[in-house]
């Protein structure tokens, strides 16, 4: 198992090298230069050229790439062209907001989505199932930014219960977390329902039931355990994406997270900051995926045996 984790972590290196090259290549293709944007209207062409040289923007792509990798190996992700602050510091100042949003959202998603999916599957075609699937359909189809705005209008402007924007207190997180979690929970609910319905019909469930196993035991140990694998995958992917930030939610609720940082950096052609944020994002997604894979082994004994054998 340890060997497997190590191998997966080592795989991060080529992935990150590729990601960095790809990002630098794309940023290189985009029009404009940072000095023009940084120096503004009164700058002379010489000043622009000088600053571009200073920033390393005029170096060939491969030289920039090599410089970046050497810097990264020394733990230096570079300095933001726009703010002159270290990229790592910039990311870390924004990451707590994004992390809190992602963790709370995924917890709310799981708490709402999975139980409702199970209930819907067990009580198939009941009124409860109808309500759950219909509400799920509505929430899946609502655009998040719109839902967010409607929630602000209702709970902040009309009722005055919650703040419209910011990140200061737990109250600030209620609306954005719900806005993020509602459509995902709906998706997870539908997925859980579908996979549960598949397992409900399977032979081993029928066997367990014929052996006289209790209904709760059948649901938890036989049905859910087999049905949960795709749900865990889906939750993992959602979580990985949330760590990359939820641009619309961060914008609507004025939460200065990773994605607003990245968007501003792209607009200002701040290559070090864009590359740094995406490297950070890629690392987070890879680690999340690794954790999900490890969770599989905890859930599914077949996989556990496989890794044990490999060892």
């Amino acid at each position: 198992m340890l060997k497997y984790i190590l191998r997966r972590l080592l795989l991060l290196i080529p992935i990150l090298l590729g990601v960095i090259l790809l990002i630098m290549f794309i940023m290189d293709l985009t029009p404009g230069d940072p000095a023009t944007l940084l120096l503004g209207i009164n700058a002379t062409p010489e000043a622009i050229e000088e600053l571009n040289d200073e920033l390393g923007f005029n170096d060939p792509l491969l030289v920039q790439y090599a410089d970046y990798i050497i810097g990264a190996l020394h733990g230096d992700l570079g300095t933001s062209w726009q703010t002159s602050r270290p990229v790592f510091g910039e990311i870390m100042s924004r990451f707590p907001v994004t992390l809190k949003l992602a963790v709370f959202s995924i917890i709310v998603t799981a708490i709402i989505g999975i139980p409702l999916g199970i209930i819907s599957a067990i009580k198939k075609y009941s009124v409860l199932d109808m309500v759950c699937t219909s509400v799920a359909m509505i929430f899946t189809s609502l655009p998040r930014f719109w839902l967010g705005m409607m929630l602000i209008l209702l709970f902040s402007v009309q009722l005055g219960w919650l703040p419209t924007n910011g990140v200061g207190t737990w109250k600030h997180y209620i609306l954005p977390v719900f806005t993020l979690a509602a459509p995902t929970a709906a998706k997870i609910m539908r997925l859980t329902r579908t996979t549960m319905l598949e397992t409900i019909r399977s032979d081993y469930v029928r066997t367990a039931r014929s052996k006289g196993a209790g209904e709760n035991r059948i649901i938890v140990h036989h049905e859910l355990k087999n049905a949960i694998l795709p749900v865990v995958t889906s939750l993992g992917i959602e979580f990985g994406q949330l760590l990359g930030g939820a641009i619309l939610i961060e914008t609507v609720f004025s939460m200065q997270g990773i994605s607003t940082l990245m968007i501003t950096a792209i607009r200002m052609k701040d290559t070090p900051l864009v590359t740094g944020s995406i490297v950070f994002f890629a690392t987070m997604v890879c680690i999340t995926m690794l954790i999900i894979d490890l969770l599989y082994t905890a859930i599914d004994p077949r996989l556990r045996t496989k890794y044990t054998k490999a060892k």
């Binding site: 009164n42 100042s93 602000i152 004025s254």
Partner: protein, 525 residues
């Protein structure tokens, strides 16, 4: 089952209608909006809920805390309240005393002697001395010259004469220096330079407000500086600049009372704001102009080289309609890329009133009675796009066909600077002196996107820079603006108003058209 589905659909519909309708609903006065009840959300940045506090929105985080580095408009909006200039501009754009109470030009030695006001305090309590001013000029002409190219290129060096007198030696006589000085030269505290890591981790200046805290994820907190030397002194004690990127969220925060001033509210929400008795809109002139930029290089379309065609385009533009669509009426038609608030502008500049008949006549005289195809009008997202879209409709009336292509900011700038366009819809934010127009009209300017190389313009550019007599210079600049208008090198569209949506009861006693919101001019009723 059918009944159940109907019920569900009806419920969903009600939810949607409720949400949509609420933007038009008048809200009742919240404690914050009426300013009667203090509240603390424990965020560091907060809400202006008392009469001695105010919350203003920012659309992005600050780029820097240092006024020596390039700032975007958002950064400038905050820093202008903290730093104070050697000189300043009055409401009419004239240079007036500030930290320096008088200044004398010495033609022989090519220097300005500034006499500083005595007793000016920095935020740390220390007194501002001549050495601080020299230190400021050393920074501008030294490590930070790239960011202050205009002033850096004019100043040779500065010297301390005594504690309250400074000599600033120029590289050559320059009439614009004193204007740029009033706009760009803010005095730094030499003693605090090291401790604040070059003013990137804190600010010690002498402006009306002092920095309490800055957090890129929430915003800026300022506190009134009691020893501020200028007038008016700040009347609101605590100022919070909260970062709210989304314009619609800003409006909702205004409605809920969490925000007192929004600069970025969408024009489409003006009617909602006006209908709300707790909210108001304050507008003033600003240095911005929206215009059509022509490519005047050799590679341009043949018709665009013709003055009459360019004049016809100017006549064909319905500027009032552009203002009503893009600005909900908050603007005035433009007759120049220069701005009415500029030194050197007067009302005699030729104006192209909306006149399709006259435009058609000019097209016929120019030999294009059936018009021509202009290709693509490039623009950026936002109001430029509205201007471009209205322009193609207007131009169609005189037979000129065109389409609109919207580009991302960097792509737009690259397209224009390379001359890969015929016409573009753009805007510029100028400062107080009409010589700024040379930045777009002269091939040696900072944004010479038109590629214009007119010998008269180039000659006047040099002459205006060297002329030290104020009246003569004003006349010369005015001649240039007249000339540019006659030649129709640009098609100016309109001057927008700078507008703020704000909580009712907030008074604006003044403004700076070229700098933006200055909190010391604000007070609660």
């Amino acid at each position: 089952m059918k009944k159940f589905l109907c019920f569900l659909l009806a419920a969903a519909m009600c939810f949607c209608l409720f949400g949509c309708g609420s933007t038009e609903t008048e809200t009742t006065a919240t404690p914050a909006a009426s300013g009667s009840e203090p509240a603390d959300d424990g965020t560091g940045t907060g809400t202006g809920t008392e009469r001695d506090s105010l919350t203003i929105s920012l659309s992005t985080e600050l780029q820097t805390l240092s006024i020596l580095a390039q700032q975007n408009i958002v950064t400038n909006q905050v820093l202008t309240n903290i730093y104070d200039g050697l000189l300043k501009l009055d409401q009419d754009g004239n240079v007036v005393a500030n930290i320096a109470e008088e200044w004398v030009w010495d033609e022989e030695e090519v220097k300005y002697t500034f006499k500083l006001k005595e007793g000016i305090k920095f935020h740390d309590g220390s007194e501002l001395k001549a050495s601080d001013v020299v230190f400021t000029f050393d920074l501008i002409t030294g490590d930070y010259e790239n960011f202050n190219a205009t002033v850096a290129s004019q100043v040779d060096h500065a010297e301390v004469v005594d504690d309250y007198t400074v000599d600033v030696y120029l590289t050559a006589p320059s009439a614009t220096f004193i204007y740029y000085c009033a706009i760009y030269v803010k005095v730094y505290c030499e003693a605090a330079w090291e401790s604040t890591n070059g003013f990137t981790e804190g600010i010690v200046a002498c402006g009306p407000y002092q920095l309490v805290s800055y957090d890129p994820s929430t915003g800026v907190v300022l506190e009134a500086f009691e020893d501020y030397h200028g007038d008016p002194k700040p009347s609101i004690k605590n100022v919070y600049f909260n970062i709210i990127p989304d314009a619609n969220t800003q409006v909702m925060a205004l409605q809920s009372g969490e925000l007192n001033v929004s600069r970025d509210f969408p024009a489409s929400s003006i009617s909602t704001i006006e209908a709300d008795e707790n909210l108001d809109i304050y507008s003033h002139d600003c240095g911005m102009v929206y215009f059509l930029q022509f490519n005047l290089r050799d590679n341009t379309l043949e018709p665009l080289k013709n003055q009459q065609v360019r004049q016809a385009i100017n006549y064909a533009l319905d500027k009032e309609f552009m203002i009503s669509v893009a600005e909900e009426g908050l603007g005035t038609p433009a007759n120049s890329v220069g701005n009415p608030n500029m030194f050197g502008y007067d009302d005699e500049i030729p104006t192209y009133e909306y006149n399709v008949e006259r435009a058609r006549e000019l097209m016929a005289e120019a030999g294009y009675p059936d018009g021509f195809d202009l290709g693509t009008i490039y623009c950026r997202e936002g109001k430029d796009q509205s201007v471009a879209e209205i322009a193609i409709e207007n131009l169609a009336a005189i037979g000129i066909t065109a389409t609109v292509t919207m580009l991302e900011n960097n792509a737009f700038i690259e397209q224009l600077s390379n001359g890969n366009y015929y016409v573009a819809a753009s805007h510029l934010n100028f400062n107080t002196d009409a010589a700024q127009v040379f930045e777009v009209a002269s091939i040696r300017g900072a944004v010479p996107y038109s590629g214009l190389e007119d010998p008269y313009v180039e000659e006047m550019r040099d002459a205006c820079d060297l002329e030290m007599d104020t009246e003569t210079r004003r006349e010369m600049l005015n001649e240039v603006l007249d000339y540019l208008s006659e030649q129709a090198y640009f098609a100016p569209c309109y001057y927008p108003m700078m507008s703020y949506a704000h909580t009712a009861g907030l008074q604006f006693s003044g403004y700076d058209p070229f700098v933006g919101l200055q909190v010391r001019f604000l007070s609660w009723e």
